[in-house]
């Protein structure tokens, strides 16, 4: 399967590297406006390099699928172009920057008959999979409340090699929102993943600790429409993240008990890395396939989601995270923003 990667920032490069470990997948083309990024892709054996992604979509040899890791505001246009070119699409979250765009993408997917998967990677974290399995097995009884928290530095995280935060992250027109559309998007998707039904916003609150035009702190209360499960979501960009710590937790509270991701993630991330790393070295020695990124625990989810996307193309089945999933998440986010604005306008809060 010939694959193209559009956008070679950190995420795009990670996807490109992950593809190299997936059987039957070959990254044959890449597009980015940065010549340095293209050169980097070339060092991974990518032959066809473009500064304009339209050329990649219409280029030869034709790619069967593309991975889109562009800034948020470019998702809609690039996804649309890829679908219209008859190419399957994996797009980084968020699906788009508005419900309007999301709806149009969902329609285009249906019309084109192509596969589309949105990068809701948190579902693929082992702890989330274990929580879901325990819930489905009935181990905590009826689910009543889901608590989801993720507080990090978000786009302001300081990499091992310091590089400036891309300018578009400071422009709300280009990001489409703040932390709610960034980290909150994942938490809302996890709520939907656990509950599995339509939900609405009961309460939303936003903070601007860093005086940015978009929120850097958000608290959301959701309620599922049928079984009345409540979701409490707490996300922030305000915390200085220190590698390898990862301030993320999920707790499911049911009538028969509760389960927390704190009990499922490795207690000591270093020991985990050593153990998984040793396993991979052993696999390598005996000529078996390694399990990419298993040492890092959280980053493994990026590999797993991508593998599933390509499996869905191969076996012609539905993707685990569809355009509709992306759209439903966007609808909740838009509702949360409107809810907050309305309450402010009427003097209800703050």
């Amino acid at each position: 399967m010939n694959v193209g990667v559009i956008g070679l920032g950190h995420m795009g490069m990670l996807h490109l590297m992950n593809c190299r470990h997936i059987d039957g997948v070959k990254v044959t083309a890449a597009a980015d406006t940065s010549k340095a990024a293209l050169k980097r892709a070339e060092s991974f054996g990518v032959k066809n390099l473009f500064t304009d992604y339209h050329d990649l979509l219409n280029g030869y040899p034709k790619v069967n699928a593309v991975i889109i890791s562009l800034p948020n505001f470019l998702h809609f246009e690039s996804v649309k172009s890829a679908l219209e070119s008859g190419i399957d699409v994996f797009v980084e979250k968020p699906l788009a920057v508005s419900v309007k765009e999301g709806r149009e993408i969902a329609k285009l997917v249906e019309k084109s008959g192509r596969k589309l998967m949105v990068g809701h990677c948190m579902r693929f974290i082992e702890a989330a999979e274990k929580l879901k399995a325990a819930l489905d097995e009935g181990r905590i009884g009826d689910l009543e409340v889901v608590t989801l928290e993720q507080i990090l530095n978000g786009p302001f995280a300081h990499g091992a090699v310091p590089t400036p935060v891309p300018e578009w992250w400071f422009d709300p027109q280009k990001t489409g929102g703040g932390v709610l559309l960034d980290l909150g998007y994942h938490m809302i998707d996890l709520f939907r993943f656990f509950v599995g039904e339509e939900s609405k916003v009961l309460f939303s609150w936003f903070e601007h600790k860093f005086n940015l035009p978009m929120e850097d702190g958000a608290i959301l209360v959701l309620k599922s429409c049928k079984s009345n499960v409540r979701g409490i979501i707490n996300v922030g960009w305000f915390q200085k993240s220190v590698f390898p710590e990862y301030n993320f937790r999920m707790i499911l509270h049911g009538c028969a008990g509760y389960i927390s991701s704190d009990n499922l993630v490795p207690k000591n991330i270093y020991l985990h890395a050593i153990k998984e790393g040793a396993k991979n070295i052993l696999r390598k020695i005996i000529g078996k396939k390694i399990e990419p990124l298993s040492y890092s625990y959280y980053y493994e989810a990026y590999y797993k989601e991508l593998r599933q996307f390509f499996d869905c193309i191969k076996w012609d089945c539905d993707t685990p995270v569809s355009a509709v999933d992306g759209l439903k998440t966007l609808e909740i986010i838009e509702e949360a923003y409107q809810n907050f604005d309305k309450n402010h306008a009427y003097g209800g809060f703050g």
Partner: protein
């Protein structure tokens, strides 16, 4: 000659900062050449990390300095809060995100990005090595140049305080180019840019974690400040490489360093969360080396944001 270093305790709420600044200036007998028409205040905004993390200068101390100087030397003094772009940090966003835009409006002062100043390249010789720096020229013209660093540890240099904050004045954003000769570069830039006064923000200091030390230090000599600051942070100053180079290059002198005010620096030293192995450069280097080696052996992936190319 070393100089007097004043130490004053303040309240972590920041209510009495102006008074604390006044007190510490009195302790060091600070009497600037008058009239003062323009003051440049160099803060430390190394990245978009809130002042409560201990990484960046607290806008409240800058507000206290402005109020104190206006009260003493005249309401018409023109203040500029200055900072230069860093390798990853952009001053315009740091000013916005860390509360300086709001402070500038409230105090009617100017925010200035030194990377956008008129620049001149200057060369200095340190340890027998010639180093070139891009110097923002307007810094040399102010009547009073105040350095307001943080009190914090740094993996590369052990401590970062007065002398290291002047390194942040280099107009060229990609200061990472100096990192292989960081100690020499710190001394070099201080040979060119000499602040008239250093007031250290130790309200929240940073060791292996942040600590509300509620300390304000001041001196007319940046070297003297660093000599005392390194002791507070649990380091033997004679083992801090850039301080050793500073002595050799005659930028600093131990004789004449005198502590006034809170003279019991052991009190602060006991409170300060000292560096341990897990916050040291050795541990970080080990981690990244182990990861790189593992990647090489196994053929696994290193996420791009963890790469150190």
């Amino acid at each position: 000659m070393g100089d007097v270093v004043g130490l004053v305790r303040t309240h972590s709420s920041g209510e009495d900062i102006k008074e604390a600044v006044g007190k510490v200036l009195d302790l060091i007998d600070f009497k600037p050449k008058e009239p003062i028409r323009s003051v440049d205040i160099k803060v430390n905004l190394c990245y978009y990390w809130h002042a409560s993390t201990g990484y960046t200068t607290d806008p409240r101390i800058v507000g206290g300095i402005i109020d104190c100087l206006r009260e003493r030397y005249g309401k018409d003094i023109r203040f500029r809060i200055v900072e230069a772009d860093g390798t990853a940090m952009r001053t315009k966003y740091a000013f916005l995100m860390l509360g300086y835009e709001e402070l500038a409006k409230r105090k009617n002062v100017e925010l200035f990005n030194l990377s956008q100043d008129e620049i001149r390249e200057e060369k200095v010789c340190v340890n027998g090595r010639e180093i070139a720096f891009q110097i923002p020229q307007s810094l040399l013209k102010s009547d009073l140049f105040i350095n307001v660093p943080k009190l914090k540890i740094m993996r590369e240099t052990k401590i970062t305080c007065a002398l290291k904050n002047i390194y942040g004045c280099i107009a060229y954003p990609r200061k990472i180019i100096y990192h292989s000769i960081l100690n020499e570069a710190i001394v070099g830039i201080n040979k060119i840019l000499r602040p008239n006064l250093t007031i250290v923000d130790g309200i929240v200091a940073l060791g292996r974690c942040p600590i509300k030390l509620c300390l304000i230090m001041a001196s007319k000599d940046a070297f003297s400040i660093d000599w005392i600051a390194s002791q507070i942070m649990g380091f033997n100053p004679s083992k801090v490489k850039f301080l050793k180079i500073a002595i050799k290059e005659k930028l600093g002198n131990l004789s004449g360093i005198e502590i006034r005010g809170e003279e019991d620096i052991d009190f602060f030293r006991r409170l300060f969360p000292k560096e341990n192995f897990f916050s040291s450069k050795t541990w970080w280097t080990l981690q990244f080396r182990a990861l790189t080696l593992y990647k090489k052996i196994s053929g696994d992936i290193l996420p791009p944001f963890l790469e150190r190319n």
